[in-house]
């Protein structure tokens, strides 16, 4: 080690005493985790309101004997399209079986897309994508662990044009959610045949291509 290297090491070590104390660190982390859980819980309430309002009608409409598929207007993206690699340095969650990419969107996905789109104001032009995945894969993408039983799920992503307020959230929560990305997670085998789910409003995007084939929804949702 030459003289300057020694100086660098000594300089760094000599200044470590200026570093902040860790006295309040554990409490701050506890608080941060609690706030994160409250945000998720609050968002879930709002989402359930949206999902119940929207998907209840959709499920009834598709009913027994319904195709459960979208109309011909949907554009499904992926067949022969770009396959996006997961970014380096990240462990991809376990990939679920993939639905053939040419399949149109299920009714429940279109209904949730409508509900989400109507839930944000100002009502922006939005791009909606969705994937068929598993609850476990979604939680892994969020960096969390699924405590409940795993099962198939749809994740619907609304890409808003800018940071936007969730109007539906205001009716349920004492605070407004502002997001550029809104996600509805539909538990396909949930208690109400697809009505159960989770809602996440985020200022950053989740890489849905890591948990399934990303399908673009057309404008007829």
């Amino acid at each position: 080690m030459d003289g300057l290297e020694t100086l660098v090491r000594e300089s760094l070590t000599a200044h470590e005493e200026r570093a902040p104390e860790a006295d309040g660190l554990l409490g701050a982390v506890r608080g941060g985790v609690a706030r994160r859980r409250r945000r998720r819980a609050g968002a879930l309430c709002a989402a359930l309101a949206v999902l119940v309002a929207v998907t209840g009608g959709v499920v009834a409409a598709s009913g027994p004997g319904g195709s459960g598929r979208g109309g011909p207007g949907q554009v499904t993206f992926g067949q022969g399209g770009p396959e996006i690699d997961a970014p380096p340095g990240h462990d991809p969650p376990s990939l679920p079986p993939r639905r053939p990419p040419a399949d149109p969107a299920p009714e429940v996905v279109r209904g949730v897309a409508t509900g989400l789109s109507n839930g944000f104001a100002p009502h922006p032009p939005a791009t909606v994508v969705w994937v068929e995945t598993t609850l476990k894969a979604w939680y892994a993408l969020e960096g969390e662990t699924l405590d409940a039983q795993d099962g198939p799920a749809y994740v619907v992503e609304l890409r808003l044009s800018a940071l936007t307020d969730c109007t539906s959230c205001k009716g349920v929560n004492p605070y407004a959610l502002t997001a550029q990305f809104a996600y509805a997670v539909i538990d396909i085998n949930g208690d109400k045949g697809g009505n159960g789910g989770e809602f996440v409003a985020s200022k950053t995007e989740y890489q849905l291509d890591r948990i399934g084939t990303v399908h673009f929804l057309g404008d007829d949702y």
Binding site: D2, G3, L4, E5, T6, L7, V8, R9, E10, S11, L12, T13, A14, H15, E16, R18, A19, P20, E21, A22, L25, L26, A28, V29, R30, G31, G32, V33, A34, R36, R37, P88, G89, E142, G143, E144, T145
Partner: protein, 171 residues
């Protein structure tokens, strides 16, 4: 208040001070260091069940800290200028304390990735391979960043003299 797992609480209690010192070395800002470490630990808790199986969960948290620091630095310029320490009428470079302070200030003016390499190599004592993992780059890039950092240090008039004094006999 959220209940953290006992293992995670033990980790924060044991390694929190070291993580704060590390973040402070990177940022030179006590408040920012606290923010970086808190956010990194909150993120780490989200996947603690996986991290706890790693040999060193701390390495993962350190990586989050570095990446956040680099990200935040991209969004705001500190206005620091490399080698901005005054050249005249300030601490005598022959004084060891003044010399360390001068090095500290010059390091503080380095680009964030160069500074991160110095902190990881000379404060955390990581190998270039380990530093490359943290910064998600090649080992050659780590060596290049370090070389450029030392080039800046050597160009500083007072440090050049100090380096000559300290490195007498070395090439």
């Amino acid at each position: 208040m959220a209940g953290l797992t006992p293992e995670f609480e033990a980790f924060v209690t044991a390694r929190g001070p070291a993580l704060l010192r590390f973040a402070f070395m990177l940022t030179r800002d006590a408040g920012l260091a606290e923010d970086l470490v808190q956010e990194a630990l909150i993120r780490a808790y989200g996947r603690w069940s996986q991290l706890v199986r790693l040999d060193s969960p701390e390495a993962y948290v350190r990586r989050i800290v570095v990446n956040q620091m680099l990200s935040w630095r991209r969004r705001r310029s500190t206005g620091e200028v490399p080698g901005s320490a005054p050249e005249h009428g300030t601490p005598d470079a022959t004084d060891a304390l003044a010399e360390r302070d001068l090095v500290w200030r010059v390091i503080g003016g380095l680009p964030a990735r160069q500074r991160a390499v110095l902190v990881l190599r000379y404060y955390e004592a990581l190998t270039d391979r380990e530093i490359a993992d943290v910064l998600d780059c090649a080992e050659g890039t780590v060596r290049s960043l370090a070389a450029r950092a030392f080039e800046t240090l050597r160009r500083h008039p007072q440090l050049a003299r100090s380096g000559e004094r300290v490195t007498t006999g070395e090439n």
